[in-house]
């Protein structure tokens, strides 16, 4: 009885989480023009439609560019900050650590608005670069926290050995510290990519002519429900799942290192 109840609970919980996605994906294969029951598919015509729409494919490319670009920057900055704070103690270093993580608690809307005001004041035009800057701001604390948490005495001892064998500080980081932290660095990178990929508010506030996919979806939503949106949503979901799977199979596998 207990096992049946706990099984039921499990099914309900996962159903609650995944049912919306299942419905979304299902109605992306709808034949008629409205993504509502009854299901009359399957048909790939909406996929054909959106993948032939240059607005959508451009937005998709832009999103990938912003996600990868901002994640690379966030991870590099996060790694350097973590290295510095882990290896050197100086007055105020706990405070700096706090300042680095604090942006996690600020809502994306506030971050976006703040950046919008600053960028407008500076006279910088809004573009994919400004959206990327926004994403670095939100992803840097995360990248820093993940990498900092996995730095320990093991790397420090290996670094000491490398210096003893004649390595300069740059080479110590390049040949020893960074390779030893690859799991953490990759986890930070892929997490940043998925967060940036889905992010709407900052992208919406900080882009103008070239827009990212979530912003494109939002503008399409204004003209009402359509299986086109389901098709785009499914593509977005597929890419996110792919990133998570890459993370799972490459990085988290190497736990024993």
């Amino acid at each position: 009885m207990r096992t049946i109840l706990s099984r039921l609970y499990l099914i309900l919980a996962f159903g609650f989480i995944y049912l919306p996605v299942v419905v979304l994906v299902l109605y992306s294969f709808q034949e008629s023009g409205l993504p509502v029951p009854p299901f009359d598919g399957p048909s790939l015509k909406w996929y054909d439609d959106v993948l032939g729409d240059s607005d959508v494919t451009d937005a998709l490319t832009h999103s990938l560019l912003v996600a990868v670009g901002s994640s690379v920057v966030a991870v590099i900055l996060g790694f350097l900050a973590a290295y510095g704070l882990a290896r050197y103690t100086f007055s105020g270093s706990p405070f700096i650590r706090l300042l680095l993580i604090a942006p996690l608690t600020v809502s994306y809307l506030i971050v976006g608005l703040g950046l919008l005001i600053v960028l407008t004041r500076l006279g910088l035009g809004l573009s994919l670069v400004t959206a990327g800057i926004g994403h670095v701001v939100i992803n840097l604390p995360l990248a820093f926290a993940i990498i900092f948490a996995s730095m320990n005495a093991k790397q420090e001892n290996a670094e000491r050995a490398a210096r003893d064998l004649g390595a300069t500080e740059m080479r110590v980081i390049f040949f020893v510290t960074a390779p030893m932290l690859v799991p953490a660095i990759a986890a930070a990178f892929f997490l940043s990519v998925t967060l940036s990929w889905d992010e709407f508010i900052i992208s919406f506030l900080l882009t103008r002519f070239d827009i990212t996919l979530p912003v494109e979806i939002w503008s399409m939503l204004r003209s009402g429900l359509s299986p086109r949106l389901n098709a785009i949503g499914s593509v977005v979901f597929l890419i996110s799942v792919a990133v998570v799977l890459i993370l799972e199979f490459t990085v988290l596998r190497k736990r024993h290192l």
Binding site: R160, A161, A162, F175, V182, L257
Partner: protein, 347 residues
């Protein structure tokens, strides 16, 4: 390659704690020196100063003819075998061993050849492409040694290199270390708290205590003629007997014993357990009663209590062929050369 090391009046403070007190030491090139002492005696601090990981508050370190006191580890002709090995987990053994050569700009082929050569020297033939996590503790220790020797340092520093190994493996590695040191001709400075390890390996043992050098000499010298009571105690089991010296004669609970050249006053007489015998050779001591006898294979450790009322306990290592029954009274004797006196105020 090999070089002499000269340490000149080294002092080091960690905050208000003085870890090294006026250390001066000369190490010959090609010598195998062990720094021996209890934990916290400053031996690892001294090794860190030699390796360049720590800048001493005062004093100088010269390696070869050059002053190295302020040089960072990378610029010194020293390498270290760390206690925790500190191997690079993401590199193959060949790349681990070749790392120092890579930093020195040695080409890949030459690097691999020399790395394989060093791996062979430590008995890891054909394992070059394996990763450190596939190895046992003893094998990792060998890789760490090969890595440190691959750059042909003038001085090799070993920080309790055998501390993490089990006893049997430790003894095997000791023999190998000695052979490797002879082969390489490099000066070895080896930190340990195990006096047996120190005696097995060293040309010279430097005994340290509370940041100071207590004694320095060959294993036999440090063991048989320790300079201080601390050294006598640390190098192995010893019987300490209070003595009163007057005119070159010591009066002790064991009887009157010669103490030629020792100034008058209160002293401690030290006798190693193996110097006591029951065969009547040398000076006769007071008879003593056997309270316990334990067989150790090569000797019998006998605990005795002196037969007078004061109840002095003695430990003697007697030949294993005749185990005295408990409760027996035996006549102990000792050779005059085995007596060591330390004046009370030295402690």
């Amino acid at each position: 390659m090999t070089a002499a090391v000269q340490i000149d009046s080294l002092n080091h403070w960690f905050g208000s704690f003085q870890a090294l007190k006026n250390i001066s030491l000369e190490i010959d090139s090609g010598e195998y020196v062990t720094l021996l002492g209890p934990s916290g005696c400053g031996k690892t601090t001294l090794l860190s100063v030699l390796g360049g990981f720590l800048k001493p508050t005062e004093g100088n370190v010269r390696i070869g003819a050059k002053d190295m006191t302020l040089l960072p580890p990378a610029d010194r002709p020293t390498t270290t075998v760390f206690q925790d090995y500190a191997l690079f987990p993401h590199m193959s053994l060949r790349d681990n061993v070749g790392f120092g050569l890579r930093m020195a700009g040695v080409g890949k082929l030459e690097r691999h050849r020399r790395a394989d050569e060093k791996l062979k020297m430590v008995g890891l033939v054909g394992d070059g492409s394996r990763r450190p996590h596939e190895l046992s503790g003893g094998q990792r220790q060998r890789v760490a040694l090969a890595r440190a020797l691959a750059v042909e340092p003038e001085v090799l520093l070993l920080d309790e290199p055998l501390g993490a190994l089990d006893l049997k493996l430790r003894r095997t590695m000791q023999d190998e270390l000695k052979v490797i040191q002879r082969q390489a001709g490099t000066t070895f400075v080896h930190v340990t708290h195990d006096q047996e390890e120190a005696m097995a390996l060293a040309d010279r043992i430097v005994v340290m205590n509370a940041g100071q050098i207590e004694d320095s000499g060959s294993p036999t010298q440090v063991y048989n003629q320790p300079a201080t009571l601390f050294t006598a105690n640390f190098m192995g089991e010893i019987n300490q007997i209070p003595a009163q010296i007057t005119n070159g004669q010591a009066s002790t609970e064991l009887g009157q014993l010669p103490a030629t050249g020792i100034p008058d006053g209160e002293a401690i007489l030290c006798i190693r357990p193996e110097a006591l015998c029951n065969k009547g050779k040398g000076l006769d001591l007071m008879p003593a009663k056997v309270t316990d006898a334990t067989f150790f294979g090569t000797y019998v450790r006998v605990l005795l209590i002196s037969s007078d009322a004061r109840g002095l306990t003695l430990s003697a290592h007697l030949p294993p062929d005749d185990i005295p029954p408990i409760g027996d009274c035996i006549q102990l004797s000792v050779s005059a050369s085995a007596l060591r006196f330390f004046l009370k105020d030295r402690e």
